[in-house]
């Protein structure tokens, strides 16, 4: 039910993002979606890539600090109130949303939201029961 995301430590320095994009590009890894959390001094880059294990391995060879973690990918209706409908399911579960970002999914006209929940498994289950379309890693990346 969850998909794996790659989180990368980024020093706040010119060209770091470009360097990482190049390492992944050279390794044939397509970046499907991304988000950057930044503070004054450093950032965390979060990526959805074709093959998370291979991407992590090639980054580690370049001394890049990264971490694999679980997120939920939910299809959100491309109509007013679409996001509100998803969020209303979560509000009732007392599960926290740590962050979220949208990625493009060519197979559907609807956007796909990536959610990092305090409890990914429980949140995924609640969304599924509410009839939301939750992508598996296979559906999202290989379908």
């Amino acid at each position: 039910m969850t998909i794996r995301q790659l989180s990368i430590f980024l020093e706040n320095r010119v060209g770091r993002l470009a360097t990482i994009a190049k390492i992944l590009g050279d390794a044939g890894q397509n970046i499907r979606g991304l988000s950057v959390a930044d503070t004054q001094d450093f950032g965390i880059l979060r990526l959805i890539v074709d093959n998370v294990n291979e991407a992590a391995a090639v980054l580690r060879q370049h001394d890049v600090v990264c971490h694999i973690n679980e997120v939920i990918a939910v299809e959100v209706a491309n109509t007013p109130g679409g996001l509100a409908k998803v969020l209303s399911v979560i509000v009732n579960t007392k599960i926290n949303i740590e962050y979220m970002y949208a990625i493009a999914e060519p197979k559907t006209a609807n956007p796909v939201m990536i959610f990092r929940f305090s409890d990914p498994q429980a949140a995924g289950e609640a969304l599924r029961q509410a009839g939301m379309n939750i992508y598996s890693e296979k559906d999202l990346l290989q379908g």
Binding site: T39, D41, I44, V65, H67, N69
Partner: protein, 432 residues
Amino acid sequence: MTELLMKDFVDRAALERLQLERMQNTLDRVYNNVPFYKQAFDSVGVKPTDLKRLQDLAKFPFTMKSDLRNHYPFGLLASDQKDVVRIHASSGTTGKPTVVCYTQDDLGIWSETMCRTLEAGGLTSRDIVQIGYGYGLFTGGLGVHYGAERLGCAVIPMGGGATEKQLLLIKDFGTTAVCCTPSFFTHLIEVAEKIGLDFRQTKLRVGFFGAEPWTDAMRTFIEEKSGIKAFDIFGLSEIIGPGVSADCEAHNGLHVFEDHFYPEIIDPDTGEVKAPGEEGELVFTTITKQAMPMIRYRTRDISSLAYEKCACGRTLVRMSSVKRRSDDMLIIRGVNLYPSQVESVILDVEGTEPHYQLVVTREKAMDELEIRVEVTPQVFTDEVKVLENLRDLLSAKVKQLIGISAKITLVEPGTIERSVGKAKRVIDLRHS
């Protein structure tokens, strides 16, 4: 126990008689052979014959690094030039290097004290010793080399740098002991991990680390990461090179080879000799060296002396491991700071590694200290908060233990330059 090693367990009364005789001879030699010393002794009205007891040495003037520079290159020679068989020099950051000369007997003393250093760390003639100190004018490489040869070890004269080759030889040659700077060894650990070499699967069991100050926290880091035993070695080229004092199994200070080098601790401001146990600047007088004896040479290193018998049984005085040099001291907004203090703070925090750098700048007449620390995979998660907590924890500990507010900057691994010799811990941009 070898005959040499027995010298470390000598009766102190006999040792002091020997020291006095040797010191009297040395003072007499330099007074008669070196114009600099004659003038220095005369200027304070003291004669070699005024040394009746060891404590009388306090009446004699100090020798400074600047005295060596002022008499560059051979002005302090006490021997005939034809008896000199080796010349070393330390890199002078301000132009001229500091030159030291050795007679054949001096090289004998040096290899003896270096041999005793390695024996104190448990080496025998069966060991294979890889030398990762630089060879050449620097005393590190050749000093350890001759000592290990004297002990009968198989010596690999690898020299500094060439990290991957060092690892290859450790693995393929079955190196049992390595000698290099502690910062270079942490670099070897890092690269070994990267290429999948586990030191625990090799024959390496002991390391002799010196030429820069390091902390107990660093010893723990090295021992836990690599599974070897880490020994501190101390020396300076003006006195002989490495092999002035040596760590033993007890790790309770370094035993000074007092039958050759006589230590004192002084107040760096007043020059007064301090009592045993008190901290101050370390001063050495060589009492056997021929070519270039040093009388009360000020090392700038901060230490203290303990005369109680060590748990290892050695009777030689112990100097506390040099954690800081008065030359390394930074004064930031009026607070004294040594890089080693920062090292202790960093290594005290779970998951950090000893890759750090201090950057000092001055903005609007205010000194700013930035401590750059590398983030490791162990401390990184997806959460910003975890990194912010790490940064705040380091900042709070620096404030609490050192008393200074510092900006902690978390940087990516590998961005702080790895040293293959002495680590460059401080970048001071205040005067540039």
